[in-house]
């Protein structure tokens, strides 16, 4: 740090030197001025003339030179002109000397170890992969990050990591954009003024000295969930140093129900690890365990493994979901029952009662029938069943779930318990409440906020901003010192004294525990882009060793925690693997100390009342990703909305409230839909939101997604959507019940950017679905008569593919619509973000989209969820990823006038951007509408950070050209080069497309269709395999495997809507 300061001073001195060169002045005085020339010039001029000095008037070339040199930006003006060798050497010597001085602080000597291949020196143009991890809530996702010449460009999952298994989710994929976000906080500030890190350390030391004297009283730390052992150790050491200091935690989008439920059931905080793979029957009680929460990537993988069908004799697991609002888990379910959130608890109680655990609850008759069937199914699969409770459900539901799992004998088979993964599990709401109370009581002198944004996320009745803000009326602050560490200068940073820009996880050393306790070392891929610091370093500034680097602290801790004979070897292996082997928490034996009958009577809400639910947004989560353009533009899995959140309402409730949608003419179903604006008044607060009608949502439920309406998120995220936190109170953190009069139509309409409004397949065989029974009876049910016309029908001669014939198979039975592939593709292929206005015009650029359809029988008259129909109450939902189908008989190729889209020898439809003139004829003729056109210059060519982000192997497209999925042709060619070097064929699985790599359920398989032993050829040989719009004879290389559901015969009518039954 001293080095850096010195550097700054040097620059300063250097600058002064340049400006006040006494020698230069002397020289100027030496040269005599030609007064005669001045007089001559004056006489020769007419009219008003101004001159700065007589020298200028004289046209003195020396003056001209002085003018030029007077305002140079230090030395660089020397470079403008040709520099002779002597000057060049002088300058080089000077800059090298300064570089040496400035260099010591900036480039720490720390070693990172590549994951797969040990480079014998960098090969330019060849990416390297490093293992690291992204901490996220009570989980860390193990990653392999692709690095091109030292800049990370793409994130992949780490196959050796338990929570990734090689796959990722949208947040991990998009987190690389956060690294290069130009709006990130770039330095240390105090009251908004830029400060140096050393000044911060000085004042931190001063605070520490003060605290030391007071034994730490008044020192408070506020964090989110911490799973990093090193960070936790750092906090602990501070707490030891300041015995009266306190550590508070606030994670806005993770409920306390999970923790408190375990405490209720077992008497202590515990971590539950599920093994969906071991379960034949799964019941989710409002849990989106396939789409969010710790371990969801792994759970999705395990769950889908039990649904992979090789043939009609295979078996499948069965998933029941009870939930108030559709989630990707609900959409994947074999049976889904929409219930209000409060009814989920009643359902759980009734289930416990049904299983003989005591207690009794009356349910409505149809729910009761459903429950009976589920209970019987669960009981039939004792030890091979699983009940999962949702993160947002209260402690009672979690406790009941533990009891049910216990009685079903699932503990030890389909789930196990471990010690908490969180370093310091507490009730977050109480923790934050305590902090607020202490601030009000004047007990807090220094508040250190690490990586959370409580001003934005705290329950609005806490009014957190007023707790730390300078109060102009009393002219004082309740907290003397407030220090905020966050990646952006956000709402909290604005009202804090100090703000330290937080380094991205790809910029710092660190560690984190995964959902099962496995410890991962977070390895940086790049030195901090800006003057940012890790939360640990900020904490370190208050200790006696403020200068300790993250690297040293981490290694010290690991050395102590994992003693080994050869630490360096252990270290290198850990970095290489991305995980510390055998560090997963061991299963522990627990005894249930909970009797469902002992629960107090459940609170019931009247059906006339509206239940307002607060849920993290599937794209921006709790708001932390609000400034991430990829996530903002990502269509949300169920609603397909982008750039906004909306108050989600069921069709029936919408009808009662007279809310409707109105498809706009511009963009229409593929872009712009007007929705009614409503005022929601809750807990003495009000928010204005756009209402969005969601088929399948429980009646009487309004979901207010969190994470939008940010006031200080950055260019991308500020003022998008509405802020649901504004009506979220501490008494109703997840569900608030209020009269329906609390919703008022304002009479205004708000345009929402929805990429797929039309949910009906119009009776076409777009997304083939069937039941397991149907599949067994007729394995080829997905094939329509006349579906595949004879090849000879084409006018043009067949291509032959003697070598490779690339193909893709997408198993719709596995896809749960999680969107990871969409963001992975965007990241891999430098796909532009176009913004809400362009999305509303139907011009989003995603090369792969996920279509969401409701079962065929859903009414097709208006295709408008805002005109109520009973089939919209709980429509079976399916997802279909649609990338370019790479047709062999491609309609696009035939109509391109300039041959810009051409067939490759291996069957790809190659796009030649250089040749494209942009007639858009190919897109018109594409039956799948997967082509994307650069209507304007969508790419950002100016922002330097974004240049670092781009994949150098993929062209950055300009305006006026068409683009589309290439099957990641750059990856194909990389594999080809490797194979040709070894003089062999490309092996199956050697090429993994970006979408395939990201997919948690392995729904996407790519390979050589010419090789009958390849995975893709085997999938294509299955009878479930069908071609989208096969009757057009385009003969796509991408084919689909029909989705098969495994309904309980007892409940068959519930799954199939009545219309279909009668038909």
């Amino acid at each position: 740090m001293d080095g850096m300061r010195e550097h700054e001073q040097h620059e300063h001195i250097d600058g002064r030197h340049d400006h006040n060169d006494p020698a230069g002045d002397a020289k100027l005085h030496e040269s005599s001025m030609d007064l005669a020339a001045v007089r001559a010039r004056l006489q020769s001029k007419t009219g008003k003339q101004y001159w700065r000095t007589l020298e200028e008037l004289a046209g003195d070339p020396q003056f001209a030179e002085l003018l030029h040199r007077e305002f140079p930006r230090q030395a660089p003006s020397e470079w403008d002109d040709s520099v002779d060798r002597r000057d060049f050497l002088k300058l080089m010597a000077a800059s090298l000397a300064f570089a040496g001085l400035s260099g010591c602080g900036r480039t720490p000597e720390q070693y990172v170890v590549p994951y797969v291949k040990q480079p014998e020196g960098m090969v330019l143009g060849k990416p390297q992969f490093y293992a690291t991890a992204m901490p996220f809530g009570a989980d860390a996702i193990g990653l392999l990050v692709e690095s091109h010449e030292g800049r990370p460009t793409k994130i992949e999952g780490n196959p050796d990591h338990p929570s990734s298994l090689g796959a990722t989710n949208v947040f991990a994929q998009a987190s690389i954009l956060n690294l290069y976000d130009p709006d990130r906080a770039q330095t240390v500030t105090k009251f908004g003024e830029i400060q140096t890190w050393s000044l911060f350390v000085e004042s931190a030391q001063a605070i520490a000295a003060e605290m030391k004297a007071a034994n730490g009283a008044g020192f408070r730390i506020l964090t989110g969930i911490v799973t990093s052992p090193t960070l936790a150790a750092q906090i602990q050491s501070l707490l030891t140093l300041f015995p009266q200091a306190k550590w508070h935690q606030w994670e806005p989008a993770v409920g306390d129900g999970t923790r408190e439920g375990a405490k209720l059931a077992f008497g202590s905080y515990l971590n539950t690890v599920y093994r969906p793979e071991k379960a034949d029957v799964i019941l989710s009680l409002d849990s989106d365990f396939l789409g969010s929460g710790p371990g969801h990537i792994r759970y999705a993988r395990e769950f889908s493994r039990r649904r992979k069908l090789d043939g009609p004799s295979d078996t499948m697991n069965r998933l029941y979901v009870v939930e108030p609002t559709p989630s990707v888990t609900g959409a994947t379910a074999d049976h889904r029952l929409p219930l209000r959130a409060s009814e989920v608890e009643l359902f759980a109680r009734a289930l416990a009662a049904k299983l003989g655990l005591g207690g009794a609850t009356a349910l409505p008759a149809d729910t009761e029938k459903w429950l009976d069937a589920v209970a019987r199914d669960l009981q039939k699969h004792k030890g091979a069943s699983l009940v999962v409770a949702g993160e947002q459900q209260p402690a009672e539901v979690h406790a009941l779930t533990h009891a049910v799992n216990d009685s079903l004998g699932n503990v030890g088979t389909s789930l196990y318990y471990t010690e908490p993964v969180e370093a310091h599990p507490v009730n977050h709401l109480e923790s934050l409440r305590q902090l607020c109370a202490d601030i009000d009581a004047g007990k807090v002198g220094t508040l250190l906020i690490l990586g959370v944004n409580p001003v934005y996320t705290a329950p609005h009745d806490f009014d957190f901003a007023s707790k730390i803000k300078f109060d102009p009326s009393t002219k004082q602050k309740k907290v003397k010192n407030t220090i905020c560490v966050s990646s952006h200068f956000d709402e909290t940073a604005e009202v804090c004294d100090w703000h330290v820009g937080e380094s991205h996880y790809l910029e710092t050393w660190g560690d984190a525990r995964a959902f099962d306790g496995t410890v991962t070392v977070i390895q940086p891929l790049i030195a901090p882009l800006y003057h940012t610091h890790s939360a640990r370093a900020v904490l370190g500034a208050f200790t006696e060793k403020p200068g300790a680097t993250d690297y040293d602290v981490l290694r010290e801790r690991l050395k102590a925690a994992y003693p080994s004979a050869d630490f360096e070897k252990f270290w290198r292996k850990t970095l290489n693997d991305g995980v510390i082997s055998n560090s997963a928490s061991a299963p522990i034996n627990v005894t249930l100390k909970f009797n469902p009958a002992s629960l107090p009577a459940a609170k019931t809400s009247s059906l006339d009342e509206i239940e307002f639910l607060f849920r993290p947004d599937p794209c921006v989560y709790d708001g932390r990703f609000a400034n991430n353009g990829w996530l903002q533009e990502l269509p949300k899995p169920i609603t397909k909305l982008t750039w906004d959140n909306a108050a989600l309402i069921s069709p029936k409730t919408a009808e009662n409230l007279k809310l409707a949608h109105n498809v706009a003419w511009g963009g229409g179903e593929h872009g712009k839909v007007y929705s009614n604006v409503i005022d929601v008044a809750l807990a003495n607060s009000k928010v204005t939101a756009a209402a969005w009608i969601v088929p399948g949502q429980a009646d009487g439920v309004v979901v207010l997604p969190l994470g939008y309406g940010r006031k200080r998120a950055g260019y991308t995220g500020t003022n998008k959507g509405f802020n649901a936190y504004a009506v979220r109170s501490s008494s109703a953190l997840w569900a608030a019940t209020a009269s329906s009069t609390m919703i008022k139509k304002t009479g205004e309409d708000y345009p929402l950017a929805c990429t797929q409004y039309h949910f009906n397949m119009e009776g076409r065989q777009i997304l083939a679905t069937g039941t397991l029974e149907e599949y067994r009876k007729n394995p080829g049910f997905a094939h329509e008569p006349g579906g595949n016309p004879p090849k000879e029908l084409s006018l043009y001669t067949e291509y032959s593919y003697p070598g490779y014939a690339w193909g893709m198979a997408i198993d719709l039975n596995s896809c749960n619509g999680c969107n990871a592939c969409v963001v992975a593709c965007q990241s891999e292929n430098n796909i532009a973000v176009v913004g809400k206005d362009q999305v509303m015009r139907g011009r989003e650029m995603h090369w792969i989209r996920i279509d969401r359809y409701y079962e065929k029988s859903v009414k097709s008259v208006t295709n408008d969820p805002s005109s109520y129909d009973a089939s919209l109450d709980n429509p079976p939902t399916f997802f279909q990823p649609v990338p370019c189908q790479q047709c062999e008989n491609a309609p696009c190729e035939q109509v391109c006038p300039v041959g810009a889209t051409v067939h490759s020898a291996e069957g790809l439809n190659d796009m030649v951007y250089n040749r494209c003139v942009g007639t858009r004829y190919c897109s018109n003729n594409c039956p799948y509408k997967v082509r994307r056109f650069n209507f304007l210059r969508f790419q950002d060519w100016e922002t330097p950070q974004l240049k670092l982000l781009r994949n150098p192997e993929v062209t950055v497209r300009s305006r006026g050209v068409m683009e589309k999925c290439t099957y990641c042709v750059q990856r194909i060619n990389t594999a080809r080069i490797e194979a040709e070097k070894d003089n062999r064929k490309i092996r199956d699985g050697e090429i993994v497309t970006a979408c395939e790599a990201a997919c948690p359920t392995q729904a996407i398989v790519f390979g050589n269709a010419n090789d009958p032993n390849s995975r893709v050829a085997k999938l294509k040989a299955q009878q479930r395999n069908y071609t989208l719009l096969g009757e057009l004879n385009a003969r796509p290389r991408t084919t689909y495997l029909a989705a098969v559901r495994n309904p309980n015969p007892e409940l068959l009518t519930a799954w199939r809507s009545p219309a279909k039954e009668s038909a």
């Binding site: 797929q756 076409r764 003729n925 082509r931």
Partner: protein
């Protein structure tokens, strides 16, 4: 035919409505027509009309300039509707551009004397319409500065256009048609240019017309060469009238989009083109004869005949609509059946019904003699048909694209300000060119009118 109305066509009608007003001599014809260009003072009306039209041309220039700066994203097009106003307008203008050559070439070959007084400005109209049309394929591309890729030039990379694409056929069809139309028009102008040269008073006018007249002296040899050249060009232009719009219809029928992929398109497009072309000739002829007092030259007979051609081609178009409809349903192809439903009940149904009203129902009034001979009604009707034909292209190009195969990708289209600005701008350019044309060139062929005088007087004798 109702009683009291003259029969549809008879010597009686021909007598009542001659192709040339009575009492004209060589000199009177020449005086009258050349005076418009040479001696009559330019009226205030001309200046006002020209100013408005030129203003609109300016709007077009701005719209295209902005387009080149920003990209095609300033228009309403999107995915799935990759073609919007630009292509609608292109097909519409090309359709309008059919009447001129049809009148000049085919009616010339068929020896229809009544074509004489309207062929000149009909041909001019054709050229201007083709010019307007030609703008669109260029500017609608994403990278217009690369549009030359569509021409088969000897590229050093050895790359040729992709000849399977109908857009390449378009390039050839339209450029050939434009070239032949220009030649045909210019050759027809030569004797008149010589007349103007001879009658011009001012020196510069004399020189300009003299250069354009290419040394025409009216010798028998000139006339002999001239007439064989004209005949040859007429023969050359005739198949083009049929081919251009057939080829343009291939842009649609060769694709697989439901609503585009129809074998009936070539004849149906040609009929539609002639239909709209004649409508536009009427739209121009009626104000022109009024403004310059040319009622003797463009007589009711002309208007009546053009109305009849409109009626006939309108019926062919109606037949096309019917069979497009019928075949969609008869094929049983679910996408085609759906398309029919969409046209009748979809979000754009009002456009389809307006189209039926404009193109099929309204023109049925032309069965009536009184309607055909009511200049005001005829003028309005020609405008209605022009609107109808524009709607037809909108229905085909845009609405077919809104809902094709995969429902998830369905969308909608609405034009932006710049779409309208470009469209109205080309109308402005068209009118500007028409204004300039009537001001500097004889709007009616003097030479052919003199011939007509000779013929009519011969008959009388």
């Amino acid at each position: 035919m109702s009683a009291g109305q003259p029969p549809f066509d008879s010597p009686e009608i021909r007598r009542l409505t001659p192709v040339l007003g009575p009492g004209h001599t060589y000199a009177s014809v020449t005086d009258k027509i050349s005076a418009i260009v040479l001696t009559r003072p330019t009226s205030l009306g001309w200046f006002i009309g020209f100013a408005i039209a030129f203003g609109l041309t300016g709007l077009m220039t701005v719209a295209i300039g902005w387009l080149f700066i920003k990209g095609t994203g300033i228009w309403g097009i999107n995915i799935p509707i990759g073609w919007g106003f630009a292509i609608v307008n292109f097909v519409w203008w090309i359709g309008i551009g059919h009447a001129g050559t049809l009148i000049s070439a085919i009616l010339f070959l068929l020896n229809q004397k009544w074509r004489t007084s309207i062929n000149r400005f009909a041909e001019a109209m054709t050229l201007f319409a083709v010019a307007c049309a030609g703008i669109f394929p260029l500017i609608h591309t994403g990278r217009p500065w690369m549009a030359f890729y569509m021409f088969p030039y000897p590229s050093t990379m050895g790359i040729w256009p992709q000849f399977r694409s109908p857009l390449i056929w378009d390039v050839f069809a339209v450029s050939t048609y434009g070239t032949v139309s220009l030649m045909f028009w210019f050759v027809g102008l030569i004797p008149d240019l010589a007349t103007l040269r001879d009658r011009a008073i001012q020196k510069p006018t004399k020189i300009i017309y003299g250069m354009l007249a290419m040394g025409w002296r009216g010798s028998a040899r000139h006339w002999q060469r001239y007439q064989s050249a004209y005949l040859l060009l007429a023969g050359l232009a005739t198949p083009l009238v049929l081919s251009v719009h057939s080829v343009i219809s291939f842009d649609f029928s060769v694709s697989i989009v439901p609503g585009w992929h129809t074998t009936i398109f070539p004849p149906y497009f040609v009929a539609g083109a002639i239909y709209s072309g004649f409508a536009m000739v009427i739209t121009i002829a009626i104000p022109l004869r009024k403004a310059y007092g040319l009622e003797d030259y463009i007589t009711m007979r002309h208007l009546d005949n053009m109305a009849k051609v409109m009626l006939a081609t309108g019926l062919i178009v109606a037949y096309g609509y019917f069979f497009e409809f019928f075949l969609s349903l008869y094929s049983g192809n679910k996408f085609d059946v759906f398309l029919v439903q969409q046209r009748l009940h979809g979000p754009y149904a009002p456009f389809y019904y307006s189209l039926i009203l404009c193109n099929i129902l309204t023109p049925q009034l032309l069965w009536f003699y009184k309607i055909r001979h009511n200049v005001v009604v005829l003028f309005i009707m020609s405008i209605v048909v022009n609107i109808g034909m524009w709607l037809e292209r909108f229905v085909i190009v845009v609405i077919s694209l809104t809902r094709d195969f995969v429902p998830s990708a369905w969308g909608r289209y609405s034009p932006t300000f710049w779409d309208w600005a470009t469209y109205i701008g080309t109308i402005g350019m068209f009118v500007t060119l028409i204004f300039l044309f009537v001001r500097v060139l004889p709007a009616i062929s003097i030479a052919e009118m003199r011939e007509l005088v000779a013929e009519t007087s011969e008959k009388k004798e």
